[in-house]
Symmetry: C2
Subunit: 220 residues, 2 copies
């Protein structure tokens, strides 16, 4: 109710086709609601009571689907990671020699596709960013998913950047790895500051700066 607009906004990212054992209808609703609330408030400020109120069921019913909060968190995080990684184009498809410049631009766009809409979601930032802020309070299982996501994201992005620079479509100083670190950091920070200041323009300006470099326009 209070946050139903967010459910709609982020619904596209909530399919669970990637999970080993797919969630039931109710379990998926619980996971969706939990994810949306966590992206706004953080893990520790979302309780089973909040979820129960939002969904119109009892907390015990939520425990039936997700015995512990840690399991609920791990489910949501795994699903989010898998969906995100599935969305990335596989730039290794086919012979590396046959990789056209366009494939790198397409890979980059598939990376940015789920990020751009966050611009207009009030109070929302990246799920992984929010959890990272309170990393030390999370259970080891969730910490592991979190840390590996950041690493995998950076590795994948560095590969795209490297291939794209070799193909002449991307431009940046230094190594592809350190430029990927800059990229992921800047995007995380931009979402965080946009959320705290309520200014979507901040988000625009950061992406413009990054893409200005990457596409090699406006360099002094």
């Amino acid at each position: 109710m209070a946050n139903s607009h967010i459910s709609e906004q982020a619904s596209t990212a909530l399919s669970d086709k990637s999970l080993c054992c797919p969630l039931s209808d109710t379990a998926r609703k619980i996971a969706d609601t939990f994810q949306n609330l966590v992206m706004v408030r953080g893990f520790n400020a979302v309780s089973y009571g909040d979820l129960a109120k939002e969904l119109g069921i009892r907390t015990a019913s939520i425990h039936y689907h997700f015995p512990t909060k840690a399991e609920l968190g791990a489910t949501v995080l795994t699903r989010y990671r898998d969906n995100t990684m599935n969305a990335w184009q596989d730039i290794d498809a086919g012979d590396p020699e046959s990789n056209t410049p366009e494939i790198y631009k397409k890979a980059y766009e598939s990376f940015m596709a789920p990020i751009r809409p966050v611009r207009d979601m009030q109070g929302v930032s990246c799920l992984f960013g929010v959890l990272g802020a309170t990393y030390e309070t999370l259970c080891p299982n969730i910490q592991g998913i979190l840390a590996s996501f950041f690493v995998e994201q950076e590795v994948w992005l560095a590969r795209v950047f490297k291939g794209g620079r070799d193909a002449g479509v991307f431009h940046f100083p230094g190594t592809a790895t350190s430029f990927a670190k800059l990229y992921t950091s800047a995007l995380q920070g931009a979402m965080l500051i946009k959320k705290s200041t309520g200014k979507p323009e901040h988000f625009d300006a950061v992406i413009e700066q990054l893409e200005g470099m990457l596409f090699g326009v406006g360099r002094t």
Copy 2:
């Protein structure tokens, strides 16, 4: 006890000479401990009980100094903001015409001085970044301090960047404001990812990328 190493690490940033009515010895210890714990765990995961255990006093004694958690938070945040802003060199000092190129480099370094040591503080990131992640759960008072800090930081940094580029010591594409947005975002994100992955190298790489641009080395 558990986090005493952090108290030592961050102690330099905890002077309270800027507060209108200075804190008593005990109040300052409470504020210091609270700040250190929040920078690691976030606002919602630090309780009066945690503070009491850490300090060896009762929770009621903490309530004596800080009646509510919101007041404690506001005190710590105000002090942090004032100390940070006081650390920034005033680039408007003297005649604007007499501003040498060095003054901008010095201003930039005074900005970076408190940020660089975070590299080696395990599990720690910027106090404002951590709070920003759970912005919606904070009381309006604290939200206001938070949002204004991000804005003021960006405005100040943009002024330094603009002056420095005009003076020929800084280089960057686009407006000084949007480059300042990139800079603050990248630093926030770098601290967050460093914290979640436990890799200080990530922090190094991001700063190297940013300063490579700013100082105009290694451009492609």
